[in-house]
């Protein structure tokens, strides 16, 4: 016996198993996380990453196996218990109350309700870690990226000893990712362990000290990602090589299948972003991308394009040459518009309904309904074909949408929209939270759609993705859209500069613009 034994792992799992009726989510998982270690858990959608994290956080109970915390055997019966141990988790699907403010949401989740001035502590922590937040802002007015900040700050306020991050960088700008990594490295330096779930191989190589790779519920390997290549990691993860998207030059033709002309739209709530004189034309057979930091008008532009918000000036938006500004979402679909929204559960799909019913949601014009009556057989066939084409992991056409993992539901929604053969497709964050294999598949599907002569507009906060698939790129900042430029003639640096609003006449500060960060003096 050594007199000074190594400290035990912060967290040690042994033989953890969880069986669901249709699938073995975790099969004898062993995992050690050392104090101060940034440990990646890598795997495709449905590999069992989320289930494993839910077990550690006490949301799901394992059927077998043991969990040790600092060397002591523990049973983590619920999240409150996990938090008392010092485990914090940032979920992929956020658990925030939309009608409450940031501070109210944080108070609700704190077990030991705020000692001291909570808004001040929120400002302090969020500033220290470079995640600017206005504590008095209502969550429903925030973009996905901003909501994630709330989740992260909420965890950090509890001073965790182990922080679980479920795909945290999906919606951050390159600069914000770099900042987050600094945050995480600082935390790790202070002795906090971090479990980092992701499928972004470059990030894992840049950030993590160790990686555990899962495939189909089993551990297929543990490695030091700093000594691996993205290709070797991907091979461990999917058990094969990654397909690279083919990208021939665009054969764009015509005047523009989706045309936005002088679209100005006041913000529909005090924290929204007004759109100013947005002009855009997407021609048949090209992919146009819109980059930008979340909260700069993407939400408003998407709602105006999809018809979820109608515009009095019909000519402001034209689909396939026909004025559509005053049409609602269903009428625009009839003109050939397909739309992939950024929220999947609750907007792109009804959580409680089956995939067949969710196919019906937007695709009922494809013969899934006749004379006002639903053809359930046809809806099931449509759902099954979508599941097969996009290799969606689901328990069949009758599986509820909420039973799917985020990435699989996204594949289903993208597949459902593409299957309707739209003439114009608008996609928001099409690969958010989707693993590399599926993301490549979705991107390839978008490129194929383009090659089939469809006008595709992608609004994304992931620059790499935009550069990979887009023919032209524009940037949205403070509700204004930049002049698009050919993707081949620009680079991430230039786009990054545009994202800060440099293209706006008279500079970014010519007009008073509400920015929560600016208002707090955090810029």
């Amino acid at each position: 016996m050594a007199t000074m034994p190594d400290p035990p792992p912060r967290l040690s799992l042994s033989g953890v198993t969880k069986v669901y009726p249709s699938v073995v989510a975790n099969d004898g998982i062993d995992l050690d996380v050392l104090p101060g270690e940034i440990h990646a858990v890598l795997g495709e959608n449905g590999a069992g990453k989320s289930t494993l994290m839910k077990i550690i956080y006490g949301v799901v109970r394992p059927d077998a196996g043991t969990i040790r915390w600092n060397g002591k055997l523990v049973a983590i019966g619920n999240p409150a218990r996990a938090r008392r141990l010092g485990i914090g988790m940032v979920f992929q699907h956020f658990s925030l109350f939309e009608t409450l403010t940031v501070a109210e949401n944080i108070v609700l989740a704190l077990d030991a309700a705020g000692e001291g001035d909570l808004p001040a502590r929120i400002r302090e922590v969020s500033t220290r870690y470079g995640l600017p937040l206005d504590p008095d802002r209502h969550v429903h007015t925030m973009s996905v990226g901003e909501r994630q900040r709330v989740e992260i700050v909420r965890c950090l306020l509890q001073d965790p000893r182990l922080l679980i991050m479920d795909e945290p960088t999906s919606v951050l700008t390159p600069q914000a990712v770099e900042k987050l990594f600094e945050t995480l490295r600082t935390l790790a330096g202070e002795g906090c362990s971090i479990l980092y779930i992701s499928h972004k191989l470059d990030e894992i190589r840049a950030l993590c000290h160790r990686a555990t790779v899962l495939r189909a519920g089993r551990v297929t390997g543990t490695c030091d990602p700093r000594h691996e290549s993205a290709t070797s990691l991907a091979r461990m993860m999917i058990g094969g090589d990654l397909p690279l998207p083919e990208h021939r030059p665009a054969q764009a033709k015509g005047d523009g299948a989706l045309v936005v002309k002088n679209l100005s739209l006041p913000a529909d709530d005090p924290f929204g972003t007004a759109l100013h004189q947005v002009n855009l034309s997407v021609r048949a057979g090209e992919i146009v991308g819109i980059a930008g930091v979340s909260g700069n008008g993407q939400r408003e532009l998407l709602a105006a394009l999809s018809g979820e918000r109608t515009i009095d000036d019909a000519a402001a938006i034209a689909i396939d040459g026909r004025p559509a500004g005053n049409l609602d979402a269903a009428e625009r679909r009839a003109l050939g518009l397909g739309f992939v929204p950024e929220e999947r559960l609750g907007r792109g799909a009804v959580p409680e309904m089956s995939l067949a019913e969710n196919a019906l949601l937007t695709a009922h014009r494809q013969g899934l309904a006749r004379r006002g009556f639903v053809r359930f057989g046809a809806a099931r066939d449509f759902a099954l074909a979508t599941i097969a084409d996009y290799r969606v992991k689901a328990g069949g056409a009758d599986a509820a949408a909420r039973s799917l993992s985020g990435g699989n539901l996204q594949k289903f929604i993208v597949g459902r929209e593409l299957r309707q053969r739209p003439r114009v497709l608008v996609a928001a964050q099409p690969t958010w939270g989707v693993d590399v294999g599926a993301a490549a598949q979705i991107r390839q599907a978008l490129i194929n759609l383009r090659d089939a002569g469809v006008a595709v507009l992608v609004i994304s906060e992931e620059l790499d993705e935009l550069f990979e698939i887009c023919d032209r790129l524009a940037v949205i900042a403070q509700g204004r859209l930049s002049e698009p430029r050919r993707a081949a003639d620009t680079n991430a640096g230039e786009i990054g500069l545009l994202m800060s609003g440099s293209f706006i006449a008279g500079g970014a500060h010519s007009e008073r613009h509400f920015s929560p960060a600016g208002a707090l003096g955090l810029d």
Binding site: A80, R84, A330, R347, L360, T362, G372
Partner: protein
């Protein structure tokens, strides 16, 4: 010690289907305790309450006859409830249906036309729809809460009926009683079963349930209303109009309740009285939920609720219990149903250790 409700990750569907039965059994147990506490022999009381009302042909006729308005109102309400349109005012829409349909009967009192009865039913449905249109308009135009508006309109409808039968529509040969003339036989719903009061209104109610089933589970519009109820953002994304959903939800409920109202006036009542319904419109809310907003469930639940009405009357006569016993059973049933639903969706956890601490 702290008591907490923890959401269940996967609420059991079987338990969801069985919870009305659990609620019925629990209600019976409470009834058992209640009768005992009142000094009645509980078994005899149960017999008087639940068996005696239906041990005759006439009794069965009454059971079906009272179930008809409940069924009608509940199926109409369920169509709205599934879409998150909370019409609480079926009682008022029922009353308005009786006023409109009864008004037609009184206006054409001398008519012998076979079209009179259909015209009364159409007028009844229109009356109920008109009354339901008020909360629908206020909701879609001014975002006024339809729960409050539809509920308040119940009292206006009731007093309007009272005003009419005390005033312009009072039977001149009615010894000054506040009641209208009796409807002529041509204006009454034909009898369905001899020696009972059961009339063709029951068939109308059954047809409404069948139509409700087709609408809710087979039609595209019914599907879209369900989407609007479950996920409003998804409905907006799919281009399902929220205004159309609210209007349809309210108007369907109003039409069904209006038909139930004229069914009462042209059925067992046979004229207009200050009060045309013993709270069918409110009881139908319970029926809709006990029936899980499903047409088949509503069919069964309306029979149960009808039995509670009959049992209450029987208990008044046979056991000298107050009429409040009917309302008590209705309330207990709803209470246990809601409680059962809480435990289907949540697990009770009693923490002995203090919740806070290091």
């Amino acid at each position: 010690m702290r008591i907490a409700l923890v959401p269940r990750p996967e609420p059991s569907r079987l338990a969801g289907a069985l919870s009305p039965l659990v609620a019925v059994v629990a209600t019976l147990l409470i009834g058992f305790a209640l009768f005992t506490a009142l000094g009645k022999d509980p078994w005899q009381a149960f017999h008087v309450f639940f068996v005696k009302p239906v041990d005759s042909r006439y009794g069965v006729g009454e059971l079906l006859q009272k179930a008809a308005p409940l069924m009608l109102c509940a199926i109409g309400l369920a169509a709205g409830y599934r879409a998150n349109v909370w019409n609480i005012g079926a009682e008022g829409q029922l009353t308005m249906g009786a006023i409109a349909g009864g008004g037609v009967a009184l206006a054409f009192h001398d008519s012998a036309s076979p079209l009179l009865l259909p015209a009364m039913v159409v007028a009844g449905a229109a009356g109920g729809m008109a009354w339901a249109a008020i909360p629908a308009f206020l909701r879609t135009r001014f975002n006024a809460n339809e729960i409050l508006v539809s509920l308040m309109l119940v009292y206006i409808a009731t007093f309007t009926l009272s005003l009419l039968v005390h005033g312009p529509w009072r039977d001149p040969e009615g010894f000054n009683f506040p009641q209208s003339k009796m409807f002529e036989p041509v204006a009454l719903l034909p009898n369905l079963l001899p020696e009972t009061r059961l009339n063709v209104g029951f068939l109308v109610a059954l047809a409404a349930v069948a139509a409700g089933w087709v609408f809710m589970s087979k039609s595209l519009v019914g599907f879209q209303m369900r989407v609007a109820g479950l996920a409003p953002a998804a409905a907006n994304y799919a281009g399902i109009s929220a205004r159309r959903t609210i209007w349809l939800g309210m108007l369907i409920g109003g039409a069904c309740a209006g038909i139930a109202g004229i069914g009462e006036a042209a059925g067992p009542v046979g004229q207009l009285l200050p009060s045309i319904s013993p709270g069918y419109g409110f009881a139908a809310i319970i029926v809709a939920f006990v029936g899980r907003l499903h047409p088949l469930g509503i069919l069964l639940a309306s029979l149960l609720m009808s039995l509670l009405y009959l049992g209450g009357e029987s208990a008044q006569m046979g056991l000298a219990l107050p009429s409040a016993v009917t309302g008590l059973f209705q309330g207990t049933l709803l209470f246990f149903l809601l409680a059962a639903d809480v435990f289907i969706n949540y697990r009770l956890r009693i923490a002995r250790a203090p919740a806070r601490g290091k």
